[in-house]
Each structure stands twice: as structure tokens, then as C-alpha cells.
């Protein structure tokens, strides 16, 4: 479980909006609807979805909790198939030689080579297992704060898309500007003053 590991990387979000009705039930439904499939897809190069923190590789939100105290805690799992370039190169050489022999020619056209590359990549994608990456999500619903335990851009983008789809709530990434907009108690004139600031020059 990433949250209880010894070091963390964290990006933060402000969650805009409210869930109407039973919050826990709606969160459970969103998690189940967009949980990562138990059976790995042979054809998808990349697959992402929710999983319980206590059982990320056998996702079952009916068996494992996502409610810890007053917080929601679950994981985002992203399974990605990555084919090493050298493996593609190896099978391309084999297939090109095979085709040359079959056709009796000494060379293949650019188009033929890219067709072979496509076929080789397709075959390898089916054969190679996806590598799972698991990132914890800690959601303090009351405070509208959410902590994603990664700072990887791709994971952040997947998270933002799946979160919006699951709960119909928009997660707003927290950085200097959005902290002022969402977390400060500044008055509007004060906010306006912040927005007119320019980078400082400390040196003379």
C-alpha cells in the first residue's frame, strides 16, 4: 500500500462540487463501475481503473473497504503493455528475411517493412503481459481535498479522466494559482491583487 510506504510523491487536487444523496453509496458505485477488470485484456495496450488498496490485483469493492475513518482511500491501477524496442527489432529482422525468401527479392519496400512492423507489434502486444502500476488516492470529501500518491504526468491525466467519469466531480489540480482560488480566504480585491503580481527581481 503506497500510503503507508516510507516515502511518498504526492500531487494534490481540490474536488469541486457535491455528491447528491448517499455519498458512500455513490462513491462505491463509481468505484465498482470503473474498477479495473479482473481479467487482463489481451488486446488493450493500456488499461486503467480503480482497485481496493488492500487488494489491488484482485479488485473487489464488495469484499475490501474504501472507507477509512471519514476518508475514502482506494487505488488507481494502470496496466500498460510495453514492448521493448529491441524485441520488435529482433522479430522484424526475422520476418523481413522470411518475406525476402518467399518473394525471391533482395529488398522490401518501405510500405512492406511498416506492414511487417505493425503485424509484429500486434502479435507481441497479445503475447506480452501488462505491467501494473498502483497509485493510492486519499480523498477527504468533507474538506474537498484529494491526494494522489504520484506526480507522474500520465498517471495524473488518467486519474483526472476516470475520476470525473466515476463521480461526476471535477478534480482541480492544486498549484500556486488554484491554491489562491480554492483554498484561500482572500477577498476578491485581494485575489485581484495576487493576479496582477509579476515575477520578482531580487538582484539590483
Amino acid at each position: 500500500m503506497g500510503l503507508i510506504s516510507s516515502t511518498h510523491s504526492i500531487s494534490r487536487y481540490h474536488v469541486d462540487g457535491k455528491i447528491e444523496g448517499s455519498i458512500t453509496e455513490k462513491v462505491r458505485n463509481g468505484l465498482i463501475k470503473h474498477s479495473i477488470p479482473k481479467i487482463e485484456s489481451e488486446y488493450d495496450e493500456i488499461l486503467a481503473g480503480w482497485a481496493p488498496v488492500e487488494s489491488p490485483y484482485n479488485p473487489d469493492f464488495n469484499k475490501f473497504s474504501f472507507l477509512f475513518g471519514t476518508y475514502f482511500l482506494f487505488s488507481l491501477r494502470i496496466d500498460k503493455k510495453t514492448i521493448p524496442a529491441k524485441l520488435i527489432q529482433k522479430y522484424m529482422v526475422i520476418e523481413i528475411e522470411k518475406k525476402k525468401k518467399e518473394s525471391g527479392r533482395d529488398f522490401l519496400s518501405k510500405n512492406e517493412k511498416s506492414e511487417i512492423k505493425e503485424t509484429v507489434t500486434d502479435i507481441l502486444i497479445h503475447k506480452i503481459p501488462a505491467i501494473p502500476n498502483v497509485y493510492d488516492v486519499l480523498w477527504n470529501y468533507e474538506e474537498k481535498n484529494l491526494y494522489l500518491y504520484t506526480t507522474q504526468k500520465a498517471a495524473n491525466e488518467f486519474f483526472e479522466t476516470i475520476f470525473l467519469k466515476s463521480f461526476n466531480l471535477k478534480p482541480i489540480r492544486l498549484f500556486p494559482y488554484t491554491i489562491v482560488e480554492t483554498k484561500s480566504k482572500f477577498s476578491n480585491p485581494q485575489k485581484d491583487r495576487v493576479l496582477t503580481l509579476a515575477p520578482l527581481k531580487y538582484s539590483r
Binding site: S6, L138, I172, F175
Partner: protein
Amino acid sequence: MLDIATAYNKYKFLGNDFLTWIWFLIETDQTISSLLNTKDAVTLEVGNSIVLENKLGDKSKEKITIKGDQAGLEEGTTALKKGAWVTQINLICKINEDEYKFTIKGESFNITSLKTPKIELSKKEDEIEGLVLEKAFFCFKIFEVIDTLFLKYLEKRTADDWNNKGLQDVKNWIESF
């Protein structure tokens, strides 16, 4: 609210200016607890790395990275004098008896390498909730310190006397190297 991507780029300097100010606070022994208006004893120290950036005449940038547990920060202070600002800093924050170490990036406020105070790890099911809550508390605590300091900085920066007082203090500190 502005478009998120536009706002990120337009106002990332606020985070970098803030980190430079944090370094100033640390080096000039300012009392963090009173800035935070808290009864907790909060202290900050520069940890094992600091990254600065300086715009050169054309569109290129100069990047100065200082790393190491006992590294001297002279290159950093020289860079500040030349007009650089801090873009990333590793900090050690003590809140009463608890110690936190982390690296914060100015433009995103992303936190990496965060080490929170140690807790006893357990695999027992009934204790997992306790561990989660304790870890969550530590994370909330450190972000509370960062956000409060950042908003305090903006309060000072937008105050009428900033140019004569706040900015001048930082400039005097930089000039003192």
C-alpha cells in the same frame, strides 16, 4: 477561474518566488511558528538539495543544482545575486517532535521524497485503518504548513509596505553574501 493550463504557466513564478522567500526565512532565522500563527513549534531547514534557475539574455535558462547532505550553498547564493530564483528545494520541517523531509517544486507544489515521522507498520487487518489514519494525518499536516506559509507570503507580497519592507529585507539578505 482562468483556464487551468494557462493559469499554471502564467503563475508558476509565484511558487518559485515563494520558495526563494522560504530560503530567506530559513537563513535569516525567522520564527515560522509565529508566521503560521500556531502554538506548535514549527521549524524549517534546507535539506540536501536546492535547484535554482536564471534566465539568460536570450531565451535560454541557466540551471544550478546543489545536492548533498553537507553541500555548501555558496553557488546558490551567488546565483541569487545574479538574479536566479529557487525552483525546487528539499526541506526538513519539524513540527514539535515530528520530523518531515520532502522536496517541493515551485511551479506545481508537487511533493516528492516525502518522509513522514515513523510509525509502526502492521499487517493485521484491524490495525490497517489506524495506520492509514495516522499517515493521512501526517500528510495533511505538512500540506497545511505549506499552504498556510504560501498564503501568508501572498498576504505580505500584496501588502502596501511590501516594496519598502518585505522585498527590501530579501534584497538586503541577498546583498549580504
